[in-house]
């Protein structure tokens, strides 16, 4: 018999949390009380309900290319600050991993890709409206070297020196695709020679699954050089770099879109608008991306 009162209390609490099955006490609560799980247990001593209801907590899920990790973390925090009650859940990985997850049924509101190919896959699967994707920044590639530059690399030509340990993004990753495009451009340039690509690829010791892994291996000094985004080199200022000339480089355009089945369509539209706004573009610029002028 001793145990009874807490049990009754618990049942009352559960009923209260269920909303429609309202007991007199539960009925006097504002609807937002259901959002605070701890509140119903304290029913007997609950203070009078506050007149201002908290905004309903909502989660905006953003799938973004690994290279956007730093910039989108900051954008997410800013977005949360101006939208009370909203939390931005960020999922960073290689764009190709994210697009596969989405086509296999993962649920998200936003997809920000490092290339058009992965966004097009979603459009082809009707996961984003065909006219929705907007380019929101451009990026370029750069050669990154460890702080101590163990192999003493000075020029792009040095990358083909035998025994060089080179780390690239895998060719399934946008950064890897861009790298191969650049190498194809170099092959046509007399300064590098027709066998430049073959000789450089012979020095590759690992094809990483996203561009941040390339950066990590170079930061740790395990590789003599890697090819990553200009933005990555700005996010990791201790790294040395070798520029890739503009005529050989690619202009990587990143598209962003709200998904057709976004659980939070209005918030998703707001987020895209924020990324394209002057504030959002300023954050992207800070992290080394080239904003797209409106």
């Amino acid at each position: 018999m001793k145990r009874c009162p807490p049990v009754i209390l618990l049942i009352t609490a559960l009923l209260a949390a269920c909303g429609p099955v309202a007991t007199p006490i539960a009925a006097s609560l504002p609807p937002t009380a259901t959002a605070a799980p701890a509140a119903p247990v304290l029913l007997p001593t609950l203070p009078p309900p506050t007149p201002e209801p908290m905004p309903e907590p909502r989660t905006l899920t953003v799938f973004a290319a690994a290279s956007l990790s730093d910039a989108f973390t900051e954008i997410g925090q800013d977005f949360e600050a101006v939208h009370p009650g909203v939390s931005v859940a960020l999922n960073f990985a290689g764009s190709q991993t994210l697009s596969t997850q989405l086509t296999q049924g993962a649920v998200a509101d936003i997809f920000a890709s490092a290339n058009k190919t992965e966004m097009d896959k979603l459009a082809a699967a009707s996961l984003v409206p065909t006219d929705a994707p907007r380019n929101f920044l451009t990026n370029q590639l750069i050669v990154i070297l460890p702080k101590y530059n163990p192999a003493n690399l000075q020029t792009l030509q040095d990358l083909t020196r035998p025994g060089m340990k080179l780390v690239l993004a895998d060719k399934s990753v946008p950064a890897g695709k861009y790298t191969l495009q650049i190498l194809d451009n170099m092959v046509k340039d007399a300064a590098f020679g027709a066998d430049f690509k073959t000789r450089l690829l012979a020095n590759v010791v690992s094809n990483e699954t996203d561009v941040k892994q390339v950066v990590a291996k170079v930061q740790l000094g395990e590789a003599d050089a890697g090819i990553a985004y200009l933005s990555d080199s700005i996010a990791a200022p201790e790294l040395k770099t070798i520029q890739i000339p503009a005529n050989l480089n690619v202009l990587a355009r990143y598209p962003i879109a709200a998904l057709t089945n976004a659980p939070q369509p209005q918030l998703a539209a707001d987020f895209v608008a924020y990324v394209l706004s002057a504030d959002g573009q300023a954050i992207l610029k800070k992290w080394g991306f080239n904003p797209i002028s409106p």
Partner: protein, 274 residues
Amino acid sequence: MRRSLRQLAFNQYSGWVFILPSLVLIGLLGLPLLALVWRAIGKDFFNNALSPTAIAALKLSLLTSTVSVLIALAAGTPLAYILARWKFHGKTALELLIDLPVVLPPSVAGLALLIAFGRQGVFGIWLNRIGITLPFTTAAVVMAQTFVSAPLFVRSAHVGFAGIDKQLEEAATVEGANEWQMFRYIMVPLAGRAFLTGFILTWTRALGEFGATIMFAGNLIGKTQTMPLAIYLGFERGLGVAVALSVMLVVVSIILLGVMRRLERRSTVIMREV
């Protein structure tokens, strides 16, 4: 007393209390594997399974996991023997060290290996001076696999040695057996079953190693791209090769576990007859 499932379900209403929750777990474990096989069946299966990427990954996985399990056998057996037979200071700490890789996330193992044996690593920097660089090599794959899988063998062999009747050991000592003879003629034959279990568990774990490998050894076809890595990248390139390789790993694992079951049962019979 044993009851048949049918009896439980129909004669006793309460039988469902056991069956329904079990079905949830069985479904969770079984359905994904069923779906994988379902997807794999088709005319492209052999094309995918025999693609150069898949073959290279298969060869590399077989090679590295075999080397890993042999290292575990050669170094793990004496270690398990020491743990089971000798008393010494710091034994508990040593046992903890051996149990740790089993519970650690493989990504921690990969990072630790990189920080220890990487080119700029705490010990790797010395290796580098004598011309040995481990990251991004097949040796690094073996190290990653051994790190995560060998403890399973040591644990298993330890249990096997510890389970041997003390009277047998005493009798051998009385007969004048030295440590080697004890090990060779008493302990190893009697702990055979535990060896086998450990051997197969270690092998399957090494075959499946992913996280530590990708961090410490990187990903290069034919050199460091084992089956789990190829599956991960296949996942990104198009599911065909990934699904085919996954099914191959599932089948190999089922065969190994089946062999283990069978041999275990047989050795139990032998033990009883002894």
